[in-house]
């Protein structure tokens, strides 16, 4: 077990190291930030001063060495545009993204489980067929397109909900969030729904499949024979068994939500990490791009590592298989 964890940990470190090489060299070899940052009428001395201030005149290997040395101390360089540490900028934008991703997970459960339950209990009902057809659309429609439709419907035509920004922030237990004010919640709803659509479809399908499988099982028949009410059978006995795959899959999907929020944040002008990344790409703000990519890689590697270790604890066959290779 310990050997398995150590090996996985070493692999994870190797992946992060390789990604840092790819990302750093990729970003630094292509594109010339000097042209972007110095105004066209600046003289040679200004250009030289900027290059020296940003360390762009050093050999690329030395730049990478300085980058890695800084990265290990939590310093990923300063943003060219804002002049602030890139890591600080990303951490400042992280709560907004987390808030969006967590809310959309909650929405996925709130919408997905009841709809999936209904579709699984009454598979022949036309409403169930409608739910399933819509869930297929949820998989194949591009996220940004659905976001546009939500804006047209709720913000432009009906005028019910705002479509840009984060709204008023409330403070609760020292945390600032849109969740604590009505205005903030109304700003949060559309982007969170947009981000949740894929997962709502996923939860509907998982729940439906789970219910249909569980209803034929002996323990359900036994509970019926015991004279339990249908509600108790569904919400206590069946539900417990369905929640296992749903929770597992949603946990795995959390990383994807952070990644997909890039799209949603851009559409709804939500001031999170994703919008920061797109703005940084468009303005060639290399340190921010590099810092974002490193953080997201780290995030995914940690999620995968935790899932791998949890699986190997739950299912020893995974460990043996790995050993056999």
């Amino acid at each position: 077990m310990t050997v398995f964890i150590i090996r996985r940990l070493m692999q994870a470190v190797l992946v992060v190291f390789l990604m840092s090489v790819i990302v750093f060299f990729g970003v630094n070899v292509i594109g010339n930030p000097v042209d972007m940052l110095v105004s066209p009428d600046a003289d040679q001395a200004d250009i030289q001063a900027t290059i020296e201030r940003l360390g762009l005149d050093r050999p690329i290997l030395e730049q990478y060495w300085l980058f890695m040395k800084g990265a290990l101390q939590g310093d990923l360089g300063n943003s060219f545009i804002f002049g602030e540490p890139a890591l600080k900028l990303i951490l400042q934008h992280m709560p907004a993204t987390m808030e969006l991703a967590l809310t959309s997970l909650v929405l996925a459960v709130l919408f997905g489980i009841p709809l999936g339950l209904f579709a699984g209990l009454y598979p022949e009902n036309p409403i169930s067929k409608g739910i399933m057809a819509t869930s297929i659309l949820g998989f194949s429609l591009p996220t940004f397109w659905v976001g546009l439709m939500l804006i047209i419907l709720f913000a432009v035509e009906l005028g019910l909900l705002p479509s840009t920004g984060r709204g008023d922030l409330g403070t609760f237990l020292g945390m600032q969030s849109s969740l604590f004010t009505l205005d903030g919640l109304s700003h949060l709803f559309l982007p969170a729904l947009n981000l949740a659509l894929l997962n709502i479809s996923l939860v509907i399908r998982l729940t439906r499949a789970g219910v249909r499988e569980a209803m034929g099982q002996d323990y359900v028949k036994f509970a019926r024979a015991k004279g339990l009410s249908t509600n108790r059978i569904i919400f206590v006995h069946v539900m417990k068994n369905i929640l296992i795959p749903v929770v597992t899959v949603l946990g795995l999907e959390f990383g994807s939500l952070i990644a997909f929020s890039v799209v949603t944040e851009t559409i709804f002008a939500w001031p999170g990490m994703g919008k920061l990344l797109i703005d940084a790409i468009l303005q060639l703000d290399r340190p921010v791009v590099v810092a974002y990519l490193m953080i997201i890689v780290l995030f995914f590697v940690v999620i995968n590592l935790v899932v791998d270790i949890l699986y190997s604890v739950l299912d020893p066959r995974v460990r043996l298989q790995d050993h056999g290779q």
């Binding site: 970003v27 940004f144 397109w145 804006i151 047209i152 990644a259 468009l282 995914f300």
Partner: protein
Amino acid sequence: MTDVTTEAPAAVAPVRVETPFQRFASEFFESKIATLALFTLIAIIVLAVLAPWITPQNPYDLAQVDVMDGRLPPGEEAFAGYTMWLGSDGAGRDLFSAILYGLRISLSVGVTSGIIALAIGMAVGLLAAYTGGRTEAVIMRVVDLQLSFPATLVALMLVAILGKGIENIILALVVAQWAYYARTVRGTALVERRKEYVEAAACLGLSNMRIIFRHILPNCLAPLIVVGTVQTASAISLEATLSFLGVGLPQTEPSLGVLIANGFEYMLSGRYWISVFPGLALLFTVVSINLVGDQLRDVLNPRLKK
């Protein structure tokens, strides 16, 4: 005894001799939705290919575009006399024409990246399956690693590194997709490799190359076709997403995603058509490819056959 011999031909007689393709086609057309999707897809492809000959204007020829026609709602008549059934965009381009031209770009980027990714994934997958051992372990480790990141994120990372431009987008889409093909091919090839016909071919003294490409590969085609359709749809949608975010194709290559992005700024003022119609074209394309892919999977998968 006599009963048996007289009955047997009678039972055989009504069975028509079908070629495999006819059987495949009749099974495919059993589903009405898939049939509809296939015809929609064919119509979309024909419209896109014929765009220069059937659109009322070339939206990127400045001589044919009139700024006075800008932001006309659907059904208005253009200055040049024809009706703009889908309205016009901010620069006065007829949206119907712009959409057909956009479809050409979207489809060709999606299909090109799909074919390149398929070729690379196929080669790598076959190599892994046929060599086995350490090579296979390393290749599959890389494939698994990449598949643990969502394709959108992989493409976004590459675009962040490479920058805009049609070659960079195709490259990003290829890198985001090859692993899906590699995994599929390797999985099927491993099963095929252990079958007797491969052993027989090896006994005949055929070269490895010949066994891989003439004997194993044709038997891996069915799942590859299914993955290929689904991946092409997701490539088209991914390109549209990147272009919409402004990190995909440049304005000089106006795919559907670029058109939708251009219309976005007009949307809050109620001029919905500039974004909505290119979006619908994208939607019909992606959904019909997916439906065709679903049906192909059902028809080509022998396990699901009755």
